[in-house]
Symmetry: C2
Subunit: 162 residues, 2 copies
DNA sequence: CTATTAAGGACAAAAAATATCCCTATTTTT
DNA sequence: AAAAATAGGGATATTTTTTGTCCTTAATAG
């Protein structure tokens, strides 16, 4: 069970977009080049963010993406769920229904304890991601990334932002 | 990102084995029949449990599986990890290494904040599963499952346990 | 000796992830 | 008005993972 690589891509792209000045847009092409990713496929991840309402887009030259909310209002969970989906990681195939001792039609209304426990763990994972904001990430990165690299990256992005 | 169905199978099988009297064994065949699962494939899940040391096996007629520890000493996490593996759900493909502004060979020693945050969420998921014992599950099931079905299932298993 | 079992290797089928390609409508620039 | 660049999205292909089957081997109980 491994998350799609698009999750990583989306998180990194949002981190970049968080640093974009008000009203400017960054294209798929620039984001793909910056991260060394296949442009067409990265585009699918960005479309997921767009469909989830996390980013705003414009068409045409100088078009692209910007965040739809302030980084302090955007959680990791929103980004992860946008590309990975909202379904639970444990799916119940209802194997208890096959119990040969069971009276037919019985015992299938509510999920059993196994499923509930697994779903609780799932929820703990989501809670953790829900409590990290994109602004938290940017803050950590700004401290950890060497300032010259940080600055050059910022300039690289600005040159290409429409 | 969805857990293998073998996770569900393994949990249900452990729940059954937890009710097995001391010193007796239940075969793959019986477990597969009880749950309506393909015997050969379920066998792979049970082999995973065996390799992880969670169950004990014997060969020959009347052979099969029993728990290697008391249900109170067996956690959900152990069972889940036995079949699903211990690797993290977020894998870092190190895309920051492609940053065109970066000085070559720089900034690749430690995982970045993105990975660390995702791994923390992973750990929260594991913590939750680590804190549920197989005995907890059995206790809940014994309350929730209709007593006649519970009793008949128990007898069904005993008839086939070697 | 025979029947039954777990273990495990080889292989096959199905599903999901990872792309690539191409067309359309829109918008900016020229 | 024309041209160029963009997001969106459908169709398709490739690769990897999951799911499942089949068969052989060694051990064990009766
Ligand atoms: S509800 Fe419980 S018993 Fe039924 S399939 Fe899900 S986990 Fe298994
Ligand atoms: S360490 Fe961070 S930057 Fe590097 S690939 Fe992993 S998530 Fe991305």
């Amino acid at each position: 069970m491994i998350l799609k690589s698009q999750v990583e891509w989306a998180l990194h792209c949002c981190a970049i977009l968080a640093g974009l000045p008000e009203g400017r847009y960054l294209s798929t092409k620039a984001l793909a080049e910056f991260h060394g990713l296949p442009k067409e496929y990265l585009s699918k991840a960005l479309q997921s963010l767009s469909q989830a309402g996390l980013v705003h887009t414009t068409l045409g030259p100088s078009g692209g993406y910007r965040l739809a909310k302030a980084p302090a209002e955007l959680t990791f969970l929103e980004i992860v769920e946008a590309v990975e989906g909202r379904s639970r990681t444990f799916v119940c195939t209802n194997i208890r229904a096959n119990n040969p001792c069971r009276a037919p039609g019985y015992c299938e209304e509510t999920p059993c304890a196994v499923a509930r426990i697994m779903w609780e763990a799932d929820e703990a994972w989501r809670d953790k991601l829900r409590n990290v904001r994109l602004s938290d990430l940017v803050e950590i990165l700004s401290k950890e990334i060497p300032s010259d690299l940080w600055k050059r990256s910022f300039e690289w992005v600005l040159e290409r932002a429409g």
